[in-house]
Assembly symmetry: C2
């Protein structure tokens, strides 16, 4: 049995965190989490001071998109080969939908896996957000709890966005890639929204298969790194903090933990689809929280 952890996301903790007696202006000036160059002071009487956070080594916490307690050590022992064999008609549609997206993606990116990873993560972060939002609205409408699934799906979306923030450090999007992302997001957001409203069973299955493809794609990325076709540069600082990697971690280590994340997403989404297939509701089956 897990005992309640020491840390609570509490007002108390936040209050205790403030340096006692420091004045507002100073707190604002030093406030972290946005690169110093972009940091702005906003005159405000709302009493909002971003809390200062330090790393274990005493240096300032640099990230505002995640905090120390959102970070984790990845479980690299996860089975990368698991596959849901499509049996029903709907599963087959989901499987072939994903497979048919593979060809144009392969042609477009060829072996530029860094670029491919970056672009695909802009899409990968959409389903969790859409699913989480729809379950949130349903919970409100029906006056019923969510079984933790809202949080689980939003956590997945956030995790995917961190993948993007990481790969952005390694490769820079070109203007036509930016344009493509806008177009793809517009189409995919609406398609997934509609899909999730009509059949969450199908929607989660599609994501399960997308994640299987993601695992494959990151495995290819690793092969290129090992061949030396892609340079194994040092890991970006954001990745070292987010996955608690050693200071000398490289791009290869990053791809390893990202691939493990995708395997976890695969499990969660196939599981969610299974729940629907067995005629049950997500809210009746506790969601896998903190399952990275």
């Amino acid at each position: 049995v897990r005992v309640s952890p020491v840390r609570f996301a509490s007002t108390e903790a936040t209050t205790a965190a403030k340096i006692s007696g420091d004045e507002e202006s100073e707190a604002k000036k030093e406030a972290s989490a946005v690169p110093a160059g972009e940091r702005k002071a906003v005159a405000s009487y709302w009493g909002i001071n971003p809390s200062k956070i330090a790393k274990e080594d005493g240096t300032e916490w640099r990230w505002s998109c995640f905090r120390p307690w959102d970070t984790y050590k990845s479980n690299l022992t996860i089975d990368l080969k698991k596959h849901h064999v499509p049996t029903t008609f709907l599963d087959k549609v989901a499987y072939w939908t994903v497979k048919s997206l593979r060809l144009p993606t392969d042609i477009f990116f060829q072996r530029r896996y860094g670029c491919r990873a970056m672009m695909l993560e802009t899409v990968a972060a959409v389903p969790g957000m859409v699913g989480g939002m729809l379950l949130h609205l349903r919970s409100l409408r029906r006056f019923e709890p969510s079984g933790g699934w809202i949080r689980a799906l939003l956590e997945e979306a956030e995790n995917e966005r961190m993948h993007l923030m990481t790969f952005m450090e390694v490769s820079q999007p070109k203007w036509y890639e930016r344009a493509l992302v806008m177009a793809v997001q517009g189409v995919f957001f609406n398609a997934y929204f509609l899909g999730y409203v009509i059949s969450p069973k199908f929607a989660h299955r599609v994501v399960g298969y997308l994640e299987e493809e993601a695992i494959h794609s990151y495995t290819e990325f690793l092969k290129e790194l090992d061949k030396g076709a892609i340079e194994n540069v040092p890991a970006p600082a954001i990745a070292i903090d987010y996955w608690r990697l050693p200071a000398n971690a490289t791009l290869r280590d990053v791809v390893m933990v990202v691939r493990a994340d995708e395997a976890h997403h695969r499990d969660v989404n196939h599981y969610a689809s299974d729940i629907h297939y067995q005629g049950q509701e997500l809210k009746g089956c506790p969601a896998p929280l903190d399952y990275h």
Copy 2:
């Protein structure tokens, strides 16, 4: 300076939390967080076992919608009187939009504040989700960090949903109230979505004023409780766990902490609007995280 907290939402922690050597079926059977009656076992080979969590006193953690480290002690010292005086045209539109919604609400609910609270929370949980989602999509589209605002707004939405889960325990929605909620959500979700796309400055200001009204409404609720017009029943179990209230807490204590939450939301949203008014972007100003 705040030192990194001990608890990390990590795979390690989750793994350590599992009772070593227990088999999957047993873990699933005992898995907590969904009321025992609704708990279902789903045959799955995805290896997903909801982690078991215990409270400080060793009893089973009952909630899946939030976990011990999401709970907090409310800061009741927050200034309840703060008000943003509308000066610009847009502010005045926001102010009078909210004020004009007050009359029909007053007429519909009269002095039934328990019912009113429950109904209004179904609406209050929408803006944070819409804002968080739109900022998430923008972060993906533009390849840029969010300054923590995605998380801050999603946390607000989650907090409002917990208000709803709490008041649901105190008053039961009638069929026509359920129907009303569906209609209102349909309209409000779309209106706020559009509003946030067109003018986040205006959207956050509207929420700021809505929260000012919420504070007023909960103050009236407290008056009715003190007069004895509404019975001061014991606090629901979910509220005691979520706000770490004493075991003998009452409805009055719950309304007090909920009102403090609304004051925090007021600050966050007026602040977000101020940032836009000062021609800056949210991502450049670190969001108030853990600011309940």
